[in-house]
Each structure stands twice: as structure tokens, then as C-alpha cells.
Symmetry: C2
Subunit: 152 residues, 2 copies
């Protein structure tokens, strides 16, 4: 039995991202990277999510280059992973960003387990208005993926 790694196509990467909701996001500040687990909804080349104020948000505001890593375990021992290089884009609570906030919110509210992030009641999404949560997107600038399969 041997496991073999193969590159997957960008189209396959996008399909995986569209079906995913959980991943790891990295940002960096003065050469020091930081990782946090995030829940997101992916649509049209953007991973939509929200965050509370804190270190991650401060760092992404200072440097919008981020990385999103998503893995998908298949049956048996196989797995696929996708790495996105992207740009952080905040959707502030203003008229200019209203449609983008609504779009993000409509995608995110389709899932019911955001409370897993913690400090949130189950089935309770951040309010679209007047909430400390910051809605944001990660716009893909580059994507690559790999798949590991048992080949014999």
C-alpha cells in the first residue's frame, strides 16, 4: 500500500471550498505568523466570515495578505487539502458595504452551528446591525490543492 500525492486543479479547489465551512486562517505581522480556526461560506471566489475584535482583526487590518487552509478527509485514508492566498476585505457597517454585508450574512446564516466558535449562543448569528462582530471576506488571489490517495 502506497499513498500518492497529486495536484488538483483550480476548479477542483473551488469545488472543495464551496462545500467547506471550516478551515484555518493565517495572517502575519512583522514576520510573525498567527493561525486561527474559522468558519466561513465560500462564494464567487470569496470566503465570507466574521470575527470579533482582537489580534487577528488588528493584524489583518494592518496587512491584508492572508492564507486560508482547508482540508477534507475522504473515505478510508484519502484526503484533499486546499491552500488559498488571499486578501482580507472588511465589510464595515456603512451604506457603501451594505449589499456585501447582506450577501455575507445570507450565506453565513444558512448554517446553524456558528456557536461552535464559542462565546455565542447556538443558532445565533451576529446581528447585521449594531454588532461588535466584523463581517469580512477573503478574496482569492491564488489557489492550489493536493490530494492523497492509496494507489495500491
Amino acid at each position: 500500500m502506497t499513498m500518492t500525492l497529486t495536484e488538483i486543479t483550480p476548479a477542483e479547489c473551488y469545488r472543495l471550498l464551496e462545500g467547506a465551512r471550516f478551515g484555518h486562517l493565517s495572517c502575519c505581522n512583522a514576520g510573525q505568523p498567527y493561525i486561527a480556526a474559522i468558519y466561513f461560506a465560500f462564494s464567487n471566489g470569496v470566503a465570507y466570515s466574521f470575527t470579533m475584535p482582537g489580534k487577528k482583526l488588528d493584524w489583518m487590518r494592518a496587512n491584508d495578505k492572508v492564507c486560508l487552509h482547508v482540508e477534507h478527509r475522504l473515505s478510508g485514508d484519502a484526503w484533499t487539502s486546499v491552500v488559498v492566498e488571499g486578501r482580507f476585505q472588511e465589510f464595515p457597517d456603512s451604506d457603501v458595504w451594505r449589499s456585501e454585508r447582506l450577501h455575507a450574512w445570507s450565506l453565513l446564516q444558512a448554517h446553524s452551528d456558528w456557536w461552535e466558535i464559542g462565546a455565542m449562543k447556538p443558532h445565533e448569528l451576529p446581528m447585521l446591525e449594531g454588532s461588535p462582530h466584523v463581517f469580512h471576506g477573503i478574496a482569492v488571489t491564488a489557489v492550489s490543492g493536493r490530494s492523497a490517495m492509496r494507489t495500491n
Copy 2:
């Protein structure tokens, strides 16, 4: 039912790291972060691992500041996560680093599923000598962790 986040102590972080084998490692280059899943063995403040030559290794050689993220799902909905800021340290195949390589290898060979990384036969660790794999450690410089529990 509400999920509540609490900080965990450094001692609790180390206990989680010592029991973990899988996590996500981030490095960065010119302000762009990158994430890869890694298997490791943690001992005495160092996460030991190995990697094939490639982008991750090139970037860590150029900038040794890295981040390791490990999460542990508990029963029910609870989870704990630990974030390590650390320094990449390579253990090259030379006399100077021989004992560190042996230590890394002895910790890593205690596990039998390294092949999950892909492109490796099951139960086959990289050879200590004459292998393209690079043994390395992530030495902790800062650690923090959070735990999410159902509080009612």
C-alpha cells in the same frame, strides 16, 4: 445553552501539545502567510517534525518565525485550541546535530501513521541518514490557549 470561551494556562497548553500529533503550521514570506498541516511530536518545549524540500522549508529557512495551531475536540461540543509562536530550527545531517536528529527521530518513530502526510509508505519513517527529508523543530517562544465549554 451557551458556549463560553476561557483562557487556559501555559501548563494546560503544554499538556495538550504533548498529547497531540497533528496541527497546522504557518510561516510567512514578505508579508504573505502560508499554512500546511503537519504531524509532530512535542517534547520539552519543542515540536519535532520533518518535511520534504519545498516552499514551506524555503520560507522557514528565510524567516524562522512560525506559528503552530493545534485543536482538540472534546466530548460533546467542547473544544480546546493552542497557538504557539515559535522558531524554526533545522537539524541538518551533520555531527553537530546528530543527537538532536536522533532525539527527533526517536520521538517521531513512536507513531505509525506518518504516511498520512502522503507520498510515503505506511509505517515508513524517513531514514535518519541519506534521506531528502529535513528533520526540524519548532521551539516555543510564546503559547496561549482557549477552551470552549457549554455552560448551561
